[in-house]
Symmetry: C2
Subunit: 330 residues, 2 copies
């Protein structure tokens, strides 16, 4: 099969899902019909399910482990959202089976022509043990981290991390990568930051707007490092980040949810800006801290986050979880 | 059409969605085939779309306003979750159209036989203005409420509310209603509470476990009324609520998210207990406050919540939002 070299990177998302970052390629297939259109084939007719790795019933998305031509494979099926342009045809061509009728309310099972009700399918084949572990539902536990726990467990854990793991952050700050994605920059070394769209956001609509502000100061690992001396930085991010989003996306400050994560997914301070109307993964109170609240807390107590007991979820396959467990704190 | 009287109640959920509580009836239809099975009909072939009221792309659910036989109607379409028992047939009978192939990853559009890919459909016809308003996407705005705002705007608003609006809460506390639903009770008048499943939880699995603890003390409207004198109450709820859930549902404390809402949906203090693994509606940081954090804050500052500026989302059709707007605070 002809190929164009593409950059492919597997990244672990905050919610544990694996996101495939690829530059889109041309459709490359041997299964091409007369006019170059791909034909429909029963490619998965030989797929044998071994187990369901995880089933997101709310999102109608399922991850399945199985065998395809004797190889381990993961198949991801996801129902597609409705397309407004298709609705007329859906209504005129679908058949309905009545479930219940009660006064003005009636419920049905609707059967639409397949081309109007496609299922997004991803196949990973051959799939490795790493794929299976990444996709499998991982239990999370709520962990309690006192000031002492931070100093004796978490901080040594962070310090042991490979310094190269933040190289991609530094590449952005030094404009060695992703320069075209920068929405806004304040280059002040003490109070400045860069604002970029998060990879989870396809930028096609503002409904699920999601940007990240990466701070310029190099020595702030997380919420735990913040003291009153950082208030000017935090206020600057809040104010200028909101202004930049208003200007670029016409979304005002009172339609934004602005917060930090603890634990963060990487230990260089960054702030999340999401559309208030969007239940962004990771905006739950067990992990998120409103930036306005953080500023207010530091104003009333400069060492608030040094002294505080903090609570956060950790997945059982997270190395930090193992570390807390070994320390007898879980 | 033959009918059995059923109790039907439209209830407005916390997230603004309308939930239809009906006792299931027999399938009652004139459109019945030979063996009593409902036949499939193109019932919506005459439906003309006027507008999309709201489109939940994450959940693959859409609410559509239109006309059916010259009457206003609302049609709700929702893709169905995958059923594990159907997967083998889905794989063996579906055709796939290749979108992209890159090394071990390939993506497709899958077309399944309609009976394996049904769409849950609800028709409300005739629909009233009230239905359209309930279903329509309501914008929310993040509101900033200072100590002064609370005293001058919110508190007068709460005090004007009809006292009967809390009668259902008192009925529970006085065991005049829902007695069979009580999971646990501590009847102490100062530190006690009742623990019941939330109506959003069908109790069929613990994945989406959701219980509410309603406090016995009668004079605590919300987070704003909490002071250090309430710490024994709050600690009692946290400890005994977690113990009761462990005993009844085998879910330990470190798998729970325990929080209050501000603003709450009713002004008698109540605490939410949800499964940590479940992204419960309303667990977002813009509205939820971890009970452990509340206790910690009151321990360090007895008047923390009296002095604090709090942030919370309000829908534009919320009367409190109008009140803030009239006061020039939005």
């Amino acid at each position: 099969m002809a190929g164009i070299a593409v950059k492919r990177k597997l990244e672990s998302e905050d919610d544990g899902e694996l996101s495939l970052k690829v530059k889109k390629t041309k459709v490359m297939s041997d299964n091409v019909g007369e006019e170059g259109e791909p034909v429909c084939q029963k490619i998965l007719s030989g797929f044998k399910t071994s187990s369901v790795l995880i089933d997101y019933t709310r999102e109608k998305k399922i991850f399945i482990h199985g065998k395809l031509a004797d190889q381990d494979a993961v198949v991801i099926l996801e129902k597609t959202p409705f397309r407004e342009n298709d609705l007329a045809e859906v209504f005129s061509t679908s058949t309905l089976k009545l479930d219940m009728k009660n006064d003005i309310y009636s419920t049905y099972k609707l059967r639409a022509p397949p081309h109007l009700n496609e299922i997004k399918t991803t196949v990973v084949c051959p799939a490795t043990e790493k794929h299976l572990n990444k996709y499998k539902r991982q239990e999370s536990f709520l962990v309690e981290e006192t000031k002492t726990d931070y100093e004796s467990i978490t901080l040594p854990f962070i310090e042991k991390q490979n310094t190269f793991s933040l190289q991609w952050v530094y590449n952005i700050l030094q404009k060695k990568a992703e320069v075209e994605r920068i929405v806004y920059e304040d280059s002040d070394p003490d109070t400045g930051f860069m604002l970029l769209p998060d990879f989870k956001w396809d930028q096609k609509q503002v409904d699920d707007l999601y940007l990240i502000a990466i701070v310029h100061p190099m020595n702030i690992k997380s919420l735990r490092d913040l003291t009153a001396e950082h208030i000017p930085l935090l206020k600057n991010i809040l104010q200028k980040g909101q202004a930049a989003i208003l200007e670029r996306y016409s979304l005002p400050a009172n339609k934004l949810r602005v917060y930090l994560h603890y634990q963060p997914s990487y230990y260089h301070l960054h702030i999340h800006f999401t559309n208030l109307g969007y239940d962004a993964p990771g905006c739950g109170v067990d992990r998120a801290h409103l930036l306005s609240d953080v500023i207010q807390n530091l104003q009333s107590d400069p060492d608030y986050y040094k002294k505080r007991t903090l609570y956060f979820p950790l997945r059982v396959d997270d190395k930090l979880f193992s570390t807390f467990k070994e320390a007898g704190r879980v």
